[in-house]
Structures are given as C-alpha cells and as structure tokens.
C-alpha cells in the first residue's frame, strides 16, 4: 500500500498492570499499520482482548511494552489536548443525555479547538454542519438527543467524532445495539468518511458478515491474543478466520460463504437435485439447519427433487423404499424429514 501511514505500532504488548506489580499480558509483539483512507474492522471472539487493544491504541491505557506512533510522533509524547485533535472515539453505548440538542452534542466535538469558554467560531460551525452532512443527520440538528432512536443516536455520536476532525477514528462496537439496515448504514457512512476526509477508521465488531463485506482490512484477534492483519479474503483463504472463531472445531465452516454451521448429529444423508439454483441452495440450507448431511451423489438414501412450475415450487422426496411424496413448502418437507 502506498497511502500514508496514520498509526503504526512496533513490538507492542498490551495488557494490565496489576496492583502487585505483576503484569497480565493479553497480546504481544504487535506490529500494525493503519493507512490513510482505509476502514479496518477488528474482529475476534469474546475475551480475546479487542477492547484492551483499542484502549491502548487511543492512549487511554498504557502499553506494557513497545511503541505506538501517530504519524511521526510517539503516542505517549502527545499531550491530551493535542491527541484529541488527532483521534476521536465512539463507544458502544450512547451516553444518556437530557436537555441537549443534537447540534449541541455534535458541537462538543469542537471542544479541543474552542477557547476556554467554548465559543464556536465560524469554522467550528462549518465543521459541525459538515459532520451532520456526512452522517445525513441535518434534519436531526434541533432534535433533543433523548428523543432519538438508538440508530440515530449512534449516528449523531459519529457526527460528533467527525466534528473533532481526527486523522483516526476509533469505534468500539458501534453497531452492537442496532438492527441490520442501521448497521449497513453506519458502515457505509464510515467508508465514505475515510475517503472524503482522508482519515483512517478502526472499529471493533461482532458482526462478521458485515466486516467481511465492507472492511478494507481486517484485524483478526485470536483467543490467545495473536493478531493478523490483511484483506478479509486473505483471512479466509489462510484458514485463520476459521481458526479464530472455531478453535475447537465445534462448528462446521463453509469457506464459500464464510459461515459457520452446527454440525449434523443424525447422520442422515440427502441429495438435492433440480434446475433452480436458488431453490436448491435454500433447500440445502434447511437440511443443514436440522443437521442432515447433503451429498453430491444421487446414491444418497434420500433424494429431494426441487421443481419449479409457474413460479410455484414443489419438493419431491424419494428413496428408502418409500413412495414419492410431494411438499409445497420447505417447512412441510423439513417437518416430515425430522421424523425419519
């Protein structure tokens, strides 16, 4: 990559200082680079230490060893006030705020730039309206924050972080409380942001599918704290993705869709035939859901033939010394097969 590096670490070790001078290391030997104009998703199982890593990268927690550099400056040498002009954050839970308009909330992002009384100059206001524009929150500007929905509120918190004009924005599970359309919306917004403002965004998430589909790079954190950094697709091809979320092999991994399944227990085999690719796909999905194994070979003991006649699907089940049976929905087919 040729774009300028915004933040990089060298031999970083993150963890906790205990009271009795003992150290709990969560991850060590971390060498990372965050480039301008990229959206990075930090993913990993619960307890891997994602929050600790994020807290360390934004200077809220001291590293146990190693260095963090922001542009050409060591992070620890940057005073709090200067740092706040370079990094802004969004946390999982929007703060509870009464008697505050969206505009007031977003204008708090100008805190590092304003004078001792917090007076907003014309360029401060410009930055605020710019942030509201980018997050499509213009219409919300005069609303009270406590009347917003969860999705709107998180959007406004992102607007506040944008108004802070950072070169790096760090978001800790910003989409945790949101429904699917709002998640997509927020991720899309952040992608636009990195390109327009030439900054970098790092966010942690448990939404693997969304991360794989939108991130420029994925930072994958294992249960044991080891980190790998690369394109989403590289993680799947190298098997690291599967390894991180399925260390005990409890689930079955489908590398084509990057999805995990609960493995079959019944051991029933079925083959699925038919011309309609989409119907075959979802029929297979249904059988895997109840733990059947879908075979390619037509010699399987059970066979399902998916027919599509005039926009009406029918499923024909045959095999095992049984007469052919027809079903008009997957629900009926599955209900029958469960009892075999």
């Amino acid at each position: 990559m040729n774009t300028p590096i915004i933040l990089h670490t060298h031999g970083l070790t993150v963890g906790y200082h205990e009271k009795n001078a003992a150290k709990t290391t969560i991850a060590s030997g971390i060498d990372l680079e965050f480039h301008q104009g990229t959206l990075t998703c930090l993913i990993g199982p619960n307890g891997a230490g994602k929050s600790t890593l994020l807290r360390t990268l934004i200077g809220l927690q001291r590293p146990l060893a190693g260095e963090i550099w922001l542009h050409d400056l060591p992070l620890k040498s940057i005073p709090t006030r200067e740092l706040s002009k370079l990094i802004s954050i969004v946390l999982t839970e929007p703060p509870e705020t009464d008697h505050m308009t969206v505009f007031d909330l977003v204008s708090l992002g100008r805190h590092p730039y304003t004078n001792w009384l917090g007076k907003l100059e014309s360029y401060d206001k410009e930055a605020i309206f710019n942030a509201l524009d980018l997050t499509h929150a213009n219409a919300l500007a005069s609303r009270q924050v406590h009347t917003l929905s969860d999705g709107e509120r998180q959007k406004v918190m992102i607007a506040r972080a944008i108004a802070q004009e950072p070169i790096l924005m760090v978001l800790d599970e910003p989409t945790a409380f949101l429904d699917f359309p709002h998640r997509i919306d927020i991720l899309h917004m952040l992608k636009t942001l990195v390109l327009r403002k030439n900054c970098a965004v790092l966010l942690s998430t448990h939404d693997l599918e969304l991360a794989l589909n939108t991130a420029d790079t994925i930072l994958l954190m294992d249960q044991d704290g080891s980190l790998s950094h690369g394109a989403p697709e590289d993680h799947i091809l190298s098997g690291r993705y599967q390894q991180a979320f399925n260390p005990s092999g409890k689930f079955e991994f489908d590398p084509l869709n990057a999805s995990f399944h609960i493995p079959g227990h019944q051991g029933n085999h079925v083959s699925i035939v038919g011309d309609d690719l989409l119907a075959r796909h979802w029929t297979q999905h249904a059988f895997e859901r109840i733990g059947w194994i879908v075979d390619e070979s037509p010699s399987a003991p059970h066979c399902v033939y998916v027919k599509n006649e005039g926009n009406e699907y029918t499923w024909e089940l045959s095999g095992c010394e049984r007469n052919k049976q027809n079903f008009s929905s997957i629900a009926q087919l599955i209900a029958f097969c469960k009892n075999i």
Binding site: I58, L60, T80, R81, E82, L83, S84, K85, I87, S88, I89, L91, P95, T97, D98, H99, M100, D104, L105, L108, G109, H111, P112, T114, W116, L117, G118, Q164
Partner: protein, 345 residues
C-alpha cells in the same frame, strides 16, 4: 436562536423576581416596614422611624445578602457535583462537607469543657464566630481527607463512596458526642443543624462575599469542561479534557461555595439538589455556560423566597429555613418532575 432568546427572557424574569423578593424580604418580618421606606433606607436616607433604619441595615440587609449568596452557592455547587458524578442525586454535601462541618461544630459545642462553654454562653457574637470557624475547619479537614484518600481513585464513583463512608464515620462521632452531652448543649448544636440565614454579621459578609465570588468564578471557568463531562469520562478524555485536573478544580470550587455557606448558615438542604434540576427543566438546557449563571440567580431567588416564608410575616415566630425549603420546595419539584413527564409523552 429563537429558543435562546426565550431562555434569556426567562432569565431576566427571574432576575426581576429576585429584585422584588429582596425588597419584600426587607419589608416583611415581625415588623412590617413600607416599601417606600425600605427604598429610602437603602438609598441612604432615613425611614419614618429610626428603628426601621436600624432593622433594615443591621438585621434584614445582611440576612438577605446571606440568603442570596447561600442560595447561589449551594445551587452552583450542587450543579457541579451532579455533573461531575453524573448522578442526579448528588448535592453539595455529597463529599462530606456538611458532615465535616457538623463534626467541627459538635466538637466545639458539645465536647468543649467549661472554658468553651463559658466562651459560647458568654458572648453570642464570639460564639457564632467560633461555630463558623469550627464548621470551616471541620469541612476542610474532611474534604482534604476525601481528596487524599481518593487522589488515585480510578473513577468518580469510588470518590463518591469514600465521601459517603467518611460521612458515616463523622456522624457516628457526632452521635457519641450527643449521647454524652447535656441537653442545653445538644439544643445549641441542633439549632445549628436547622440552618439559618440570620446571624451573619457585616464583618462576616466581608469574608463571605469574596469567597463566594471566587467559587463562582472558578465554576464559570470550568463550564466548558463540565459540558464535556456530560458525555461521560471516556468521551471527555478523548476530547482532550484532563480528568484529574477538572475533578480537583471542580471539587475545590464546589467546596469553597458549600463549605463557607455551611460554616455561616449551617447545613441547608434541598437547594443544592433541587435548583439544578429545576433550572435544567425550565430552561431546557444542559449547557453549563448558560446553566451556571442561571442556577446562580434561581438559587438566590429561591433562598430569599424561602427566607421570607420562614419569617412567617406578621408573626413573632420564625421557622427554621430547612423546614421551609423541604416542606415547600419538595412538592414544587415533584410537581415539576411529574408535569414534565406527562408533557414528554
């Protein structure tokens, strides 16, 4: 913008209310003095009766000034504590200022031997002064203890708990002192705990005014930081706020305000917790740049009005100020709270 001008208009109305209640307070009491005489006396003239001049200048004026200062101080201090601890139940006494003051006063009143008793009983003025001094020392002592213990506190909740614990210890010591004391001494102590705006002399006001002004000035300077704290400490820190400095300065200003007030007036309840809530509601704002002047004026108004009611105009008796603030203030706040909830739905 329209909203802002409505706010400023409301603020002007409250300021005007303040002026009216000051005149009322100077006029009403066990002796009723007509308004025009009050104004003449204030402008340096003589009232119709010479005793009136004396009453207004020597008794009522210091009391009104005390009420104004105390109301403003407690309201601002309460606002600061509520924002700092992000807790709507916080008040100026949350870090043990009043328990420290009561410890100091109880030590002077209850535990002193014959010399102390003589001193107290002998000359009222010095008695009052020594009580104020004891309250000052007591609250300063507890406050420094809280600051010392919590200088490395991870979060503000820990500080809150430390303040609470120290409060328990001091009230236990006070209880022990009361248990072993003579009834008349207990009475002196109890009458201090009732609170009063009276009994502050002109010479004490010369100390009172600059301390309160200093506290208010620091509070105003902290308004931007307190705004940042509204989003919680993590966000505040990410916006460049030095949490520890802000915490210490806020506590300093808050304890200057509440400490000196408690020293001169005793522990006055309700104002510190209620005025910030009422202000946020009627002004519909959480911006400290605006709220600090607003609670200053509203706190002063409510304190003076409470004092007028406590005088029971036309009667010889006087109610303790704490009785008025609680009995009349609490229903008002409850009404505002419930009314507002209905409005929101």
């Amino acid at each position: 913008m329209k909203r802002n001008s409505a706010r400023h208009l409301l603020l002007l109305v409250i300021l005007f209310g303040c002026l009216i209640s000051i005149i009322l307070s100077l006029s009403l009491g066990s002796v009723k003095i007509p308004f025009d005489d009050v104004i003449t006396i204030l402008l340096g003239g003589e009232g119709e009766k010479s005793t009136w001049t004396n009453i207004v200048i020597q008794f009522r004026l210091p009391k009104v000034i005390t009420a104004l200062l105390a109301g403003a101080a407690l309201a601002v201090s309460g606002l600061q504590m509520q924002t700092l601890f992000q807790n709507p139940l916080a008040d100026p006494y949350i870090l043990g200022i009043s328990s420290g003051a009561s410890l100091g006063v109880s030590l002077v009143v209850l535990a002193t031997g014959t010399t102390g008793t003589l001193l107290l009983a002998g000359i009222g003025f010095f008695g009052d002064l020594s009580i104020a001094l004891a309250a000052c020392l007591g609250s300063a002592l507890v406050l420094f203890l809280v600051l010392f213990v919590s200088r490395n506190a991870r979060n503000t909740t820990t500080m809150l708990l430390i303040g609470l614990m120290i409060g328990y210890v001091t009230s236990a010591i006070v209880s022990v002192l009361i248990y072993f004391s003579l009834p008349e001494k207990i009475h002196t102590y109890l009458s201090w705990t009732f609170g009063s705006f009276g009994g502050v002399t002109w010479s004490q006001i010369r100390i009172f005014v600059p301390v309160i002004l200093l506290g208010l000035l620091i509070a105003m300077g902290l308004s931007k930081s307190l705004n940042a704290l509204l989003l919680g400490e993590h966000y505040a820190q990410s916006m460049g706020l030095h949490i520890k400095h802000t915490r210490m300065l806020t506590i300093l200003s808050s304890s200057l305000l509440a400490g000196i007030t408690t020293a001169f007036c005793g522990p006055i309840g309700f104002l510190g917790i209620a005025v910030p809530h009422i202000s946020r509601m009627i002004f519909d704002s959480n911006d400290h740049k605006f709220l600090i002047p607003a609670v200053t004026i509203l706190g002063a108004l409510i304190a003076v009005v409470s004092d007028i009611i406590a005088q029971l105009p036309g009667h010889q008796q006087v109610l303790p100020i704490n009785v008025v603030t609680s009995l009349i203030g609490v229903p008002v706040v409850l009404w505002v709270l419930l009314h507002r909830q209905r409005g929101n739905r």
